[in-house]
């Protein structure tokens, strides 16, 4: 997957960004994409935060991968997040591999890709970088921020750092603090990458031989956590892959095996292994409650943003109880919050697939909040 930065919409962030890890970044690119038109009153802007392996190409055809955007089910003309009505913005996270500064970018000091010399980044660093984009686009206050999974975590961070910058917010299938199981699963993925001999301590860019096998295994493991037991059973069961009988081999006998291998193989074409390491680490370090002396309740104190927290009944990666912790903290701090658990067997992935109840809920929330936001502006 080759592209040069000039093919991709981006801003150069000139202001020094002091990272949580202590290093400072300056004059670095942040890639982004927008959909729809910003209206005259500039009150129809929505910022979408992407998940671990997402990018700024939310909908339409991704110009780099030539695949459909990761949230095409939800974003587009006439869709739940209607680009005929709203101006949708999404940036590639810091540490990513779709134009924003990341481990595969050239380190100006050495003229070589960063690799493991890339500084450690956090969810907060990602969010601070993205905030610069609002100034660039001339947006004082967003109609809404939306994000699922890691996108939801960025959203929570955004709403605590910049409580005045968004009228409403929809954190989806996420958590305020990565727990032991979530860290464990990320560690499994990282170890798979690092165990690949091609990884070479992150110095694989020169030879054009990437740690594809390790990254594919990481993706396969990740993919299992995105689906539910019943969802998997219904879709694959024990169905065999292009054969009538089991073949007593380690080739994919079962459909679920070939499906996972396929997911792994297509992923390595578009994603950088070091980015996976750095971003998954940022997830593990995420603990919003630790940023405030009195925990999560203090995080949302005096926050006027109108929240809609959404979880999925069969999501075991970021289960409903994680979302409820957010709801409880919001209620305890007197914030404005709605919460719905969508009943589905599609697991964590439910926010990315065509899940009508979910899409209907975010559509009605956005549309009613757009009316409220317009009235607020009038007063």
């Amino acid at each position: 997957m080759d592209y040069t930065l000039k093919d991709i919409k981006h801003i150069i962030i000139k202001k020094p960004l002091l990272l949580d890890s202590g290093k400072t970044l300056q004059d670095f690119p942040l890639a982004y994409e927008t959909y729809g038109k910003l209206n005259e009153s500039k009150n129809n802007a929505i910022l979408v935060f992407h998940a671990l392996t997402g990018d700024q190409f939310v909908t339409n055809t991704n110009p780099i991968t030539k695949k459909e955007g990761w949230w095409s089910t939800a974003v587009g003309p006439g869709k739940a997040i209607d680009t005929n009505k709203y101006f949708v913005i999404c940036a590639n996270v810091l540490g990513g591999c779709m134009g924003s500064l990341g481990p595969k970018s050239i380190n100006k000091e050495t003229n070589k890709p960063y690799g493991l010399n890339f500084p450690f980044i956090t969810i907060k660093d990602m969010v601070v970088a993205q905030e610069s984009l609002l100034d660039h686009l001339g947006i004082k206050k967003l109609l809404s921020v939306l994000g699922g999974s890691m996108g939801g975590m960025q959203l929570l961070q955004f709403c605590t750092l910049y409580p005045e910058k968004s009228f409403s917010a929809v954190p989806i299938a996420c958590t305020a603090s990565h727990n032991a199981q979530q860290i464990a699963l990320n560690e499994l993925a990282r170890q798979a990458i690092m165990a690949d001999p091609q990884w070479k301590n992150g110095n694989y860019y020169d030879e054009q031989k990437f740690p594809k096998n390790g990254l594919a295994v990481a993706r396969m493991a990740g993919h299992i956590t995105y689906m539910s037991d019943s969802g998997l059973q219904e879709r694959f069961g024990r169905k065999l892959h292009e054969k009538q009988n089991i073949e007593f081999s380690f080739d994919p006998d079962f459909q679920i095996e070939s499906y996972l291998r396929h997911q792994g193989n297509v992923f390595v074409e578009r994603f950088d292994a070091n980015s996976y390491l750095y971003i998954s680490r940022a997830l593990d370090y995420f603990d919003l409650s630790k940023q405030f002396k009195n925990g999560l309740t203090e995080a949302f104190k005096n926050n006027k943003t109108r929240f809609l927290v959404i979880s999925f009944s069969s999501d075991w990666l970021y289960p409903t109880k994680n979302s409820k912790e957010i709801v409880i903290a919001l209620n305890a701090s007197g914030a404005n919050v709605a919460f719905a658990e969508i009943k589905t067997d599609k697991g964590h992935d439910a926010f990315l697939v065509d899940e009508p109840e979910f899409l209907k809920t975010i559509k009605s929330f956005l549309d009613s909040n757009f009316e409220l936001f317009k009235n607020e502006n009038r007063i």
Partner: protein, 197 residues
Amino acid sequence: MKIEFKIISNLIPNQARILDVGCGDGSLMQSLIQEKDIDARGIELEEENVKKCISKGLSVIEGNAENELDQFPDKSFDFVILSQTLQAFYNPENVLNHLLRIGKYVIVSIPNFGYWKVRTSLLFFGRMPVTKSLPNTWYNTPNLHMCTIKDFYEFCGDKNIKIEKIIGINDEKISSINRLNLEMKNLFSEVGIFLIS
């Protein structure tokens, strides 16, 4: 608007902060927002109702008031409303204590089991009553703890809960209830609305 909603609305001053417990599809919240410019939150058990509320732009959380009221801080609302739901809880006393903790005032409405039609159903026909405000039969009713206006009046006395006002509804007619007319009103009111603190 339902007569009960009108009475509740009259009890609430403009711009109050309210929590509607078991808010259903949010119609009460919505009319209070329109009429009284209140700041409203709701909690509702049924997913379908929650989605209806969200589509109306209401801040309603999906949850069970039986065990999820802890999250609201003391006196964080001016009024907490519990409309014809008290009898459906496993532990109504516990729920009520929470409501009194969360709200400066609590409005509780109860379908009155002392209503004459209810009494005659049992007395003359020997059957569990099915009326307009008690539409279910014994085997599918969500109501676990039925009580009368008089029961709730005495309960408040026993528990040192201050009764600010009681209003009875009978067939679209409303009347004020006090200690003196309690026996009569307990017989002729289909629904009782208590403002307590």
